[in-house]
Symmetry: C2
Subunit: 133 residues, 2 copies
DNA sequence: CATTTACCTATCAAGTCAATAGGTTTTACG
DNA sequence: CGTAAAACCTATTGACTTGATAGGTAAATG
């Protein structure tokens, strides 16, 4: 199951996409609209900034803004940034050390197949798809 | 990510399927072959018994046995029994209380679509498919 | 009656989750 | 220059989950 980090990040991104204004949007406004603690959102938005998905500007009139068009974000990259990996099992995650039983594992082909399916699905979905619906 | 409970359960089921003997297989043997703590497997196998996927017999000569042919088990039911649900989000899980924002949720259709995809995948995969590979 | 096995209850250390708390720095505006 | 608004930063917390371990009881076989 996906945690709130990935799901809230998605909601923040959708919220920003819906404003289609060139202004910076204060986190306070997003938190109120989405009914999520602003303090908790800070943690999540920080990662979005570090990942280059949004830009933040301090001070009065500041806030956050998308760095690209909504159609240029995939849901997969947003979730993967916050959740770490979409992999169903640890041995397939990017930073995994190779499993010694890999060559005799009866389940690895299935996990790999599912992982590809999942990636195709979430990288195929664009942020703009969610805004419109 | 799936936890060890679901993954170990799958390995136990595969191990049992591979014995294709009509004898009961002691958990000790399975634990040694799979290199998993027998004590920990007890917890997992108990749930397989309660779910009716295997039968257990106590005493000398006892152990565990599948209740059906390997081709009659789907991977989905095994994982779902141990992991609780395949749902990517809490609001889609079986015992979920209805979300008040359901009607305005921009992500629910995507989660639902993914959930169906996932279920199709794991219920389509049979235990026999894993044993052969 | 001794051995082997499943079966049962409880406990535990470490980690993760979902926040909260309390600040500092940056910027715009009057 | 001062003040308000905003991002940004570090730390902490309580509850829960994970992945086991411990120590027994009950059942079946020879």
């Amino acid at each position: 199951m996906f945690s709130t980090k990935g799901r809230y990040a998605l909601r923040v991104m959708i919220d920003l996409a819906q404003q289609h204004s060139d202004d910076y949007i204060p986190l306070k406004d997003i938190a109120e609209r989405q009914d999520i603690s602003k303090k908790y959102l800070e943690i999540i938005v920080k990662e979005l900034v570090h990942g280059g998905l949004v830009t933040g500007v301090s001070g009065k009139g500041g806030g956050y803004k998308l760095t690209r068009e909504p159609s240029e974000y995939s849901v997969g990259e947003i979730i993967e940034l916050l959740e770490g990996s979409l992999s169903p099992v640890a041995c397939l995650a990017k930073d995994a050390n190779e499993c010694p039983k890999e060559s005799v594992c009866h389940t690895l082909p299935m996990w790999t197949e599912f992982y590809l399916l999942e990636r195709d699905f979430f990288y195929g979905k664009k942020l703009s798809d969610l805004v419109e619906s």
